[in-house]
Symmetry: D2
Subunit: 287 residues, 4 copies
């Protein structure tokens, strides 16, 4: 029994709950933080995935109807792990197995994943917690190639007074998002990239979080120059524990606002059989 | 003092108000209706837009790291007006002008719309209303090529007791969604497609809705065999009134549930300069 | 009198061969038959392959240099078995094996064929022979779903006096190309499509031809309504005999000209690891 | 009896005539030089054009027919100015005009060029001449950012004894092709790239060549660090003189062979309305 319910029960206003609707609260006014990065040509992305491309096959004036109307449209080419995105469980396998022991080779027959694909990820509307690591550590941003430790995570939780647990979405800010405008710096191939390693991932899994996100391209601690030779957090979260990963999040504005707890909303495109989806997640709080 | 607070005050639980946060309500349990259609090869879509294509450039086993880990990924090609999607204002022009009198030719220079593009559409978290037209008319579904009239819209509102107004997102169910599994029937080139015409669009605009959606590919009444020769609702909503349009919605489950009012959430991909975005909108209510 | 002729006169023929160069003959004048179909939106193609798409990401005026210069460019999306194209051996497997007994699963690891791919097909400059089946049969065009028999092939050879043999490229005209402008008719899903069946393919293989082509989408006899349930010619030519197949050829003009023997030139794009390539083959003869 | 045969007859070598056909010469044996580069992920290409991408949407085993047959196929995404390619006249405009004074804005309405597009470029079978500039200059390769002068071109012609003129295709080797395996070096953004400038282009135009090619990405002299700020050769050849340009040619093997004159064959894909085409040109000589 959670504290809210308890309060209501003891005061005997059970019926009240129905009139205190979610919709009423939203209509009173909410603040919506946009946690997605803009998608555009030249944005930082992993070289392992198809480049984001946008073009207008039809522009205004190309075909004008008799009544003076005209439509423009787009063609988009992209990987599902470019820009802000969520990883489906099928994205990663270990020793030939997907999460749940599914055989990776078998599941991908047909050119799409009938199990473990992003179509199995229901839209997320849940508690979200931002763990602001630089704030907890008293720095502006984590250093390149810095491994966010379990102690750091716990320090942030304590400083923020925001325990995390079953079903929560935990977003871990390293401060790396400040480099977004500098493509090479954000990719960080030479410098390495800060993030949680195996220990942090295990810690998150033990808390049974619904999903975990970061403000870097990969939800990983990447040593300088090491590239993607080792991706332990992906293995632990996706394969061993069935926890989705959200990457390339925009967390700077949310962090600056002081908000640490929120309604987290993420609605992946229902791309049947795909290993991920571009997304634009939201943190929603009352005004 | 609004009704919610009043209810609480009269029952003597003033303190509760602060803890009755949006987050609390979400954590008590919400029902999330998925209003998006799955994206897959062969799904019904307009022939005017690039075909949805998905492939796995990398499959498990293609590149296995020394530690036994392997990743699969995707390449997606699509138009932004295929599957469930939202139209940006720049999608349509009339007599060479976009909404606000912007010159359509000028704005598209560079191959993307710096004004009127989908990047200008902030994520939507607002009141949503489903207008169930077949229910109001006492039919299972609107007939092909049926024009949803203002009288129909008002009849639905009265039957449902759900007025619509400033800032609402209005989703108009025609029942056409039942044809989703039959590609040709859903496209309806020969049969025509039900929807609002100019009068319905004007009525929506007069109510200052935030956006309007439908369970058909085009938010329009399409006469049999007429194709897209005339798209008055697009002109009225997008060009004349700056109201975004949402198409190819999945409304059957929501309609069957009896829910008519809800928190509507739609977070378009931030595709800089594009004329629309694929989306997976949500209707959220308390359990 | 040019130098070539002079050489012939003075030298009395033996060495002549070297001075009677290919280049000289070309410069005296050649007729070049274009055997490729135009690639454009909406052209007939197999639904099994990615749709041909062309767009101009950059148009003139999008970026004008200080000196008044401007460039336009293209983005193309296509399958390699759309439009006029050549099949690499890796395109088809039988019982898990590619031509030469290579394991199909093994060869495609990495997402491209390191053996059997189109990159292994050297540009073809060889003798080409057009077998005009309708002419031999005294009809305008083969009927839909007509199987071109061995007797038909031999009848054409006899009528034309053009034996075919080792290293030749044999193009088999069915007359189906007349339907090119009618998309559905050319695809022929309902009607079936004329072409060689197993017997014709075996006959070609026995003659050790370099490649075999047709004026239909698939180099096969397709019964009405049967689709691609059986593709014996592909199996026999590609898998069993290592003979490339050329499809969707434009043969009407060549047939009408009366030319039956020619220099055949086909230069596949060197798409490393791909199963085929779009091409524009040529039949070249002296004027 | 055509003029060639007549000439031969009068010189007394009648028998020779029938065997001296183009086809006969080809069948006696030709050497075919492949002047195209392989297309593959990561190859050097201009950042101004869509990245070459190849994937196998269907692999063997994805759909196995009842008879044990299976097909694999490809999806290709590319710009038409990547890899070895030919520029259509519509690729470049000057002061809003295409070659022939066509209005660039008007011609591109509809999203494709109905005039000046690559579909207007007939397959080329003509005399080709390799001008080996480093050989003429006595160096291994032209220095980065070296401008190939008119004097250089004339020196090569004199050294090679290969005048160039009306209708010839002239391929200018700078030796830059040796850098192909080193992506950054070949692109040469920092170093600059050798090539002809305005003077060389005018010289070629004055000779009325059919097309001109180079072993670099752009048929231009690019000063170090200057990028594509000025592209005079494109303006002169494409816009002012209607001469197609061929880029990213592979000329090292041809140069090493000593062949300087040859039958040049280039068959652009018939991409209706496009500004260029990927190609695999050939230099053909007798063995």
């Amino acid at each position: 029994m959670d504290t809210v319910t308890e309060a209501l029960v003891t005061s005997g206003v059970t019926e009240v709950t129905s009139s205190l609707s979610l919709l009423d609260l939203v209509q009173r006014g909410v603040r919506v933080f946009d946690l997605g990065r803009p998608f555009q040509k030249g944005m930082p992305q992993s070289p392992n995935h198809p480049v984001y491309t946008h073009t207008l096959p039809r522009r205004h004036g190309d075909m004008v109807r008799a009544d003076g109307g005209s439509a423009a449209n787009d063609l988009i080419v992209l990987g599902t792990h470019v820009g802000t995105h969520i990883d489906a469980l099928a994205h990663v396998s270990q020793d030939g197995k997907l999460h749940g022991g599914l055989d990776a080779m078998t599941e991908q027959v047909g050119g799409r994943f009938m199990s473990g694909g992003i179509h199995e990820v229901a839209p997320i509307v849940s508690r979200g917690v931002l763990l602001d690591i630089p704030a907890a550590l008293g720095v502006e941003a984590c250093a390149p190639a810095y491994e966010v430790t379990v102690a750091d995570l716990e320090k942030a939780i304590e400083a923020q007074k925001t325990p995390v647990g079953d079903g929560d979405v935990v977003l871990i800010r390293s401060g790396w998002g400040r480099r977004w405008q500098d493509r090479e710096a954000y990719i960080g191939a030479k410098s390495g990239v800060p993030g949680v390693g195996a220990a942090g991932a295990e810690w998150l899994a033990a808390r049974k979080v619904r999903a975990a996100g970061a403000d870097t391209i990969a939800f990983e601690h990447l040593p300088a120059g090491a590239g993607h030779a080792q991706l332990p957090a992906h293995r632990i979260l996706l394969v061993e524990h069935g926890i989705n990963i959200i990457e390339t999040l925009s967390l700077e504005e949310l962090a600056a606002s002081g908000v640490r707890e929120f309604v987290f909303v993420l609605s992946p495109l229902n791309l049947v059989g795909a290993t991920g989806s571009p997304v634009r997640p939201l943190a929603v709080v009352q005004r």
